[in-house]
Symmetry: C2
Subunit: 125 residues, 2 copies
Amino acid sequence: MRALLQPQAEDFDLAAVLHALGDPVRLELLRRLAADGETTCSPEGMAVPRSTLSNHWRILREAGVTATRVHGKTRLVTLRRDELDARFPHLLGAVLGEFAHPAPAAPAPGPAASAPAASAPAGPA
Amino acid sequence: MRALLQPQAEDFDLAAVLHALGDPVRLELLRRLAADGETTCSPEGMAVPRSTLSNHWRILREAGVTATRVHGKTRLVTLRRDELDARFPHLLGAVLGEFAHPAPAAPAPGPAASAPAASAPAGPA
């Protein structure tokens, strides 16, 4: 069995972690891992070719975002949340939107039908 | 004067922002902007060719991380901190290490020569 390259937490590199997360497919994988816990490397409902997905998993793993263990013919992936939180406090939480305010009630789109909605200044708190 | 492509805050894309930040040079530019405020697009002491730097600034700007204004022959760059904080709470703070605990005394690497310093319990809050 090939050893899978997985950095030690003390070797985590912020730029590499951000790069790993800076892709829509990898962000979706992150969200699923955060929500579902350990997953196979072929999660359902991802409209991405297996080889592409495999490459995305490699990038996440090599950056230290995920850990992979081999179970028979299956690879199981987990998020290295504790280690990442210790090293880069709040980073994953921010990426996962855990600090976001609940979306403000969408302003009633004015006199509906016709007029284009007035540009609503996104007004957080 | 060419209009510079700068997304509206409501068009910020998390993957694009993370991708923009996922590079050592761009992280360094971010740190300088956060520390120094508005800067020229050729900050001192960056050992990066001007053309490369220009490309890095473009990626930051197009992701919405920075705003550029043209002043005579100079381009001045600022961090769009408020907008990013509103859209992705805590993200920039986490990337800038603002939530990090002070580094604990590094444990002596391996069974060190002499007696390891008594682990100083991290000072009370």
